[in-house]
């Protein structure tokens, strides 16, 4: 199964990618398992999602958390706390 991942703002700059397709291993993936997979890629992702780093996640454009399940075709976005207004 593949999902679309989007990165915004400081998190996008940290990983150097704005969007990508990622293949997930079989099972019952969640945001947590996806983040573990990304962290294992290389230093940029390890750093971006290091313990103590604050980030937010949405799944299909709704705010989510690490326990949120992910289905094939989902749009998962990672970003820093928001600062609009």
């Amino acid at each position: 199964m593949t999902v679309t991942i989007l990165y915004f703002a400081a998190l996008r700059e940290r990983v150097g990618v704005s969007h990508e397709q990622v293949a997930l291993p079989p099972g019952a993936p969640t945001v947590a398992s996806l983040v573990d997979q990304l962290r294992s890629r290389d230093a940029r992702w390890t750093e971006a999602f290091a313990p103590g780093k604050t980030w937010r996640v949405s799944v299909n454009q709704h705010m989510a958390d690490t326990a949120t399940p992910i289905k094939p075709g989902d749009e998962v976005a990672f970003f820093p706390p928001v600062t609009g207004g």
Binding site: A10, A77, V82, G84
Partner: protein, 150 residues
């Protein structure tokens, strides 16, 4: 009918607020807020800023915030316009307008929408300073302001 817009272009505050009351005689109160770019923030000089957003989700988030406000208070109409892209000091960033029969509800809903927008709508500011550009950190005071409405 609530209006939510995310746009690069500036807006005409007076003309936008007019749409909340035009042809109506049941609105007694319009509370509004305009946010603008300042030339300084946390002691840093600001030459300008760039606002990034998450197209699609941002509009959904704003619509959800407005719907929440209409659920909490008896409102006639609501307006949220938020700009994105490059903005110079003095430029408008956001307009929130709320029309209601009575002022208490209009004020509360307008402040509520701003507090939730600040903490729940996916916008990110990058400021240009003489030392380079930097992403603005989220503020604990904004979380506290949003928490008042729990």
């Amino acid at each position: 009918m609530p209006t939510v817009r995310v746009q690069q272009a500036d807006f005409d505050t007076g003309r936008e607020l007019e749409t909340l009351t035009r042809g109506r005689v049941d609105v007694g109160a319009v509370a509004s807020f305009v946010g603008l770019v300042r030339d300084a923030n946390d002691g840093h000089a600001i030459r300008g800023m760039t606002l990034e957003h998450y197209p699609g989700m941002t509009e959904k988030a704003l619509e959800a915030i407005v719907a929440e406000a209409h659920g909490r208070w008896d409102l006639v109409d609501t307006l949220v316009i938020h700009r994105v892209g490059a903005l110079a000091p003095g430029e408008r960033i956001v307009l929130v307008g709320v029309a209601s029969a009575h002022r208490g509800e209009a004020f509360a809903a307008c402040e509520f929408i701003m507090d939730y927008l600040k903490t729940r709508a996916p916008f990110w500011k990058r400021e240009d300073t003489p030392e380079g550009s930097r992403w603005v950190d989220a503020r604990a005071s904004d979380d506290a302001a949003a928490g008042r409405w729990d």
